[in-house]
Symmetry: C2
Subunit: 230 residues, 2 copies
Amino acid sequence: MTAADRSDASPADGVEATPRPAAPGRGRGSRGPYAKSAERRAAIVDAAFDVFSSRGYRGGSLQEVADRVGVSQTSLLHYFPSKRDLLRAVLERRDAVSIRGDGSGGAGPGSAADGDEDFTEAVLRQARHNEAVPGLIGLYTALAGEATTDDSPVRDYVASRFDDLRSEYAAGFRALREQGRLVDGVDPDRAAAALVALWDGIQLQWLIDPTSVDVVAQLREHIDRIVLPA
Amino acid sequence: MTAADRSDASPADGVEATPRPAAPGRGRGSRGPYAKSAERRAAIVDAAFDVFSSRGYRGGSLQEVADRVGVSQTSLLHYFPSKRDLLRAVLERRDAVSIRGDGSGGAGPGSAADGDEDFTEAVLRQARHNEAVPGLIGLYTALAGEATTDDSPVRDYVASRFDDLRSEYAAGFRALREQGRLVDGVDPDRAAAALVALWDGIQLQWLIDPTSVDVVAQLREHIDRIVLPA
DNA sequence: GTCTATACGAAGATAGAC
DNA sequence: GTCTATCTTCGTATAGAC
């Protein structure tokens, strides 16, 4: 019975678990058990996001997630067979929106260069937006810290996220260089790594003590030193 | 039974567990029983440093520390009544040498400005030295990551360490400004926070993947953009 | 000072009743 | 699908013998 449940429970532990149009018995409401199941899955992922954000992956417990949702810990494991699966779902859910932030909108700075928004402005807009979602920043920061420890289950994720970010920003800087807007001697790849580093570092200080630093101002100052005005 | 399994762990890790009565007042340095106790304390702190560096504070266990020293976990608690006490000892031991690194030598960059070493060179020398002691960087990075989580026992420590670092570097930048060597428009306090952030961030990327970034080159490039040559 | 033995709790995960 | 009960492992910490 469990096996039968599993087979149709979650297609892939992806984001939307609502590929089921099926509405058993009931009419047009499409409020079947499947929809309810999807809702619960989403609620669990949301709660897990909060818990991992504030406690880290290691420090966050399934029990706390379960308590927030209002189910038992074992019920939670019915939807996500293991803690790692749950983290994966949280990460996929967030990354589906944007790489760096939760992205209030569309393209990141990398693709912005050939769009209609300035690279600098795209970065600053994202940074400004991030201040409104400290939970997300907390999640990434906590995971990054844990990733440095031996045998960390999040190491690979953090490593590839760094790769992605560096690539994205490097592309942005390269585009700027083609427009002749990159200060002489600035290497796009190194500039990208530096931007990621400064951003992470200043957000770390900000998380510890929000009054100690100004994330947006720091980023603007840094970028203004290597990017020429349009 | 489980405890018995633990006890057969080889004390091969540097320190002999053989409880021999030390010759009191004998030997080259008056090594008495007190000295032995002090030695063991030191060995424990060293082992704890390794464990916390590679596993983080939360992830590191007293058992693992005890195994490395070659004593039982309870014996370890005889020297340090709690895990926090042990961490405190590790931190004090390291901070006694230097704030940022393990300081191969004397003054940090802050006091270097009025010394005979260039601020920039002092920073780069420290960064260069840090590459040789990844454990230390790992410790600070892991603790910083944990500090962002709720109720973290290391939060206060990390917060004050950030304060200290920012103050130290701000002093260095102010001294440079008095020498007319600070680029116009650069605020010493903000520059200090940025330096700490970039440094931490780039070291984080380096810890995750040492081939991905060049810590020293990044720092040099950054500082060269805000500090004029002597 | 060092050990064995153990208390005490929390963690993730499993089995099986309903 | 959800629960209770349980397993197993691991964590810090304590008691008391030697």
